[in-house]
């Protein structure tokens, strides 16, 4: 890639304080995202995808988190070494974020207006009247009917889907260059999920922002992302353009994820699931972290920690046996 990425995460390792010392939550995570690009990050819960997303804006609790190594470059600066004060200008300004649970992500005792106006005044210095006009526009942009009246209501009067729209309105208030969406549709009804994704896509076109979409749902990824990062147990295990990932998955774990997506075409074949579950952060697994659940595990997988290797154009995988098979083919 020759273009200068909008954001690049380089060898990021993040640790949390546990009952007995520091526990590594994500290790050596690297990815980049270009201007206007959509990146999907996929994995089961506990894979480290949300940890990675929250790390970009350093939103983990300060006392119990250590950004042990790496850098997060954005506009030529490292977000990890910025002062809190500088970082606050980025948060909600150039980089905005929406979260999984819209029911609990809005402040229950502040009106919608107060919550949308806040970033407008902080980052753009708008007067209250101007901020209010802009807030109504934003609510209209996220397709909330009767925005002029809704704006003075409290969150508990809105449905889940409406609240997520409000969250999106808050996030795009200052026309960010990057929107990080952490499982934005997980807590919503299926019909609403589609609407929210569509809204995100439309807004992205209007504003020209990049989106990092975090999800456990490969179906959502297929619809939305251009490139995909697959995470497992705190590591990136595969990275590829979306078509390549679905057509030629290069990691057994990705196979499993794809098989677990219900398909409407084809026969009524059984939904397969990946046996076992993601290991606890503190558990030490020698070799490849996926090997206890992997059907194709070999001796080498139990001995050596695999590296992330190129297996095709813009395609990386952390499964040496697959990479070797591909090289041989």
């Amino acid at each position: 890639m020759t273009r200068v990425p909008l954001l690049s995460v380089e060898n990021l390792t993040v640790q949390f304080r546990g009952d007995s010392g520091w526990v590594t939550a994500i290790e050596d995570v690297s990815f980049e995202i270009g201007a206007g690009e959509n990146l999907g990050i996929v994995g089961e819960s506990g894979s480290g995808k949300s940890v990675s997303a929250l790390s970009i804006l350093r939103l983990h609790g300060r006392a119990n988190t250590r950004y042990a190594s790496g850098a997060i470059r954005f506009g030529g600066r490292d977000l990890l070494s910025m002062s809190e004060r500088e970082l606050r200008k980025v948060r909600g300004g150039d980089i905005a974020m929406i979260f999984q649970d819209p029911m609990s992500s809005l402040n229950p005792v502040l009106t919608i207006a107060e919550q949308i106006i806040e970033p407008l005044q902080l980052h753009q210095g708008l007067s209250s009247a101007a901020a209010r006009r802009r807030a109504i526009e934003l609510l209209e942009m996220v397709r909330i009917a009767d925005a002029g009246r809704r704006i003075d209501e409290y969150p508990h009067r809105l449905s889940g889907g409406m609240r997520q729209r409000v969250m999106i309105a808050i996030a795009i208030a200052c026309q960010p260059k990057l929107l990080i969406a952490d499982e934005p549709t997980t807590a919503l009804d299926v019909t609403i999920q589609g609407q929210i994704l569509e809204l995100l896509r439309d807004l992205q076109r209007e504003i020209g922002m990049s989106v990092v979409l975090i999800t456990h749902d490969l179906g959502v990824i297929a619809e939305f992302a251009q490139r995909v990062l697959v995470m497992y147990a705190g590591r990136v295990i595969e990275q590829a353009p979306v078509a390549a990932l679905f057509n030629r998955p290069m990691h057994p774990y990705t196979d499993g994820l794809i098989d677990a997506v219900p398909k409407l075409d084809g026969d009524l074949h059984r939904l397969t699931t990946i046996p076992g579950s993601i290991p606890d952060l503190a558990t030490v697994i020698p070799g490849c972290r996926f090997n206890p659940r992997c059907r194709e595990a070999m001796d080498v997988c139990r001995r050596n920690a695999p590296a992330l290797l190129p297996v095709g154009p813009d395609h990386l995988s952390r499964c040496p046996p697959r990479a070797a098979a591909r090289g041989a083919a």
């Binding site: 300004g93 609990s104 992500s105 229950p108 005792v109």
Partner: protein, 315 residues
């Protein structure tokens, strides 16, 4: 708003009635005979009997209760047996003292307690947190009147900073004298509630600081100060209001003993004197007043909820 107040007051009537009856029964349990007290030690049995008849104490208890309740309905709280004034005027005379004391203590307790509680929650596990929790523990472990006496010895007798006893009415003596007569007892009363309020504020804030919307505020670029003070505290306020109501009741209760230490002529002192003198009408009247204050405080707390928490609706 007004409708809610009226409804609450009407709902409170049975409780107040019950309080009135209990006050009455409680006081008639006292075996001493007020007629003997009033007549004096060397009065003959005839004199005692005459006084007893004048006071209506020779009538059956149920009849006394009923006539007391009927009179209450017309706003007549009766006459004090000892003080030679009506219960209402005795109470009215002393109410400003207790109200001044309670309000001044509340004015000290609320900001200090809330601020300390927020600090303790935000700097959880730090020395500030430990200090607040210790203060809370001391507040429920040390006798207030004892600290009061020690404080008088230190600040009034030895250092001479404050008057050791007595009350200077606001209107007659001006705000300076008024404040200096109250600041020491008010501060001591507060000392015992600040820790409690801080502890409650702390636990409320700890719950809120873990919530998703705090992360949302940070993600918007809101400063820590504003995140804690506006986004978090506005949510913790609901709990703080409840505790503030409890604290006001505790302050009124605590004033009973503190007024005695500082010789403040308030309701607390009045009620203790009344109980010791077997002054039935005065005891019943003041007890009713305490009960009424409790009911009013609860209504105020409910009303403040409406204002603080948009999710609360009384219909």
């Amino acid at each position: 708003m007004l409708r809610i107040v009226v409804i609450r007051l009407i709902q409170a009537i049975p409780v107040l009635l019950l309080i009135a009856v209990m006050a009455f029964i409680l006081m008639h349990l006292i075996p001493g005979d007020p007629a003997v007290v009033i007549a004096g030690a060397d009065a003959g049995p005839a004199a005692v009997e005459r006084i007893r008849h004048e006071l209506g104490l020779d009538r059956p208890i149920l009849e006394q209760l009923l006539s007391w309740l009927v009179n209450l309905g017309t706003g007549d709280f009766g006459r004090s047996l000892v003080l030679n004034q009506t219960v209402l005027s005795a109470v009215g005379e002393r109410l400003p003292v207790t109200m001044s004391l309670a309000m001044l203590s509340l004015a000290i307790t609320l900001p200090v307690g809330v601020f300390l509680g927020i600090l303790a929650a935000y700097f959880r596990g730090s020395w500030i947190d430990a200090a607040v929790m210790t203060l809370a523990l001391v507040g429920v472990s040390v006798p207030a009147f004892w600290i009061g006496i020690l404080s008088v010895i230190l600040f009034s007798v030895t250092l001479g900073w404050f008057p050791s006893a007595g009350y200077a009415p606001l209107l007659a003596n001006g705000p300076g004298a008024w404040l200096s007569s109250l600041i020491q007892p008010a501060f001591i009363l507060s000392l015992f509630q600040i820790g409690f309020l801080a502890r409650m504020t702390r636990s409320g804030m700890l719950d809120v600081l873990d919530q998703d919307f705090i992360r949302t505020a940070r993600a918007k670029g809101v400063s820590e100060w504003r995140t804690v003070g506006r986004h978090a505290f506005r949510n913790a306020l609901v709990g703080v209001v409840t505790v503030a109501g409890i604290i006001l009741s505790l302050l009124i209760g605590g004033s009973v003993v503190i007024e005695q230490v500082f010789a403040l002529p308030g309701i607390g002192r009045l009620v203790v004197q009344a109980i010791l003198a077997r002054d039935y009408p005065l005891i019943q009247g003041t007890m009713l007043l305490f009960g009424f204050a409790f009911v009013v405080i609860n209504i105020c707390v409910d009303l403040i909820y409406l204002w603080v928490d948009p999710r609360v609706r009384y219909d």
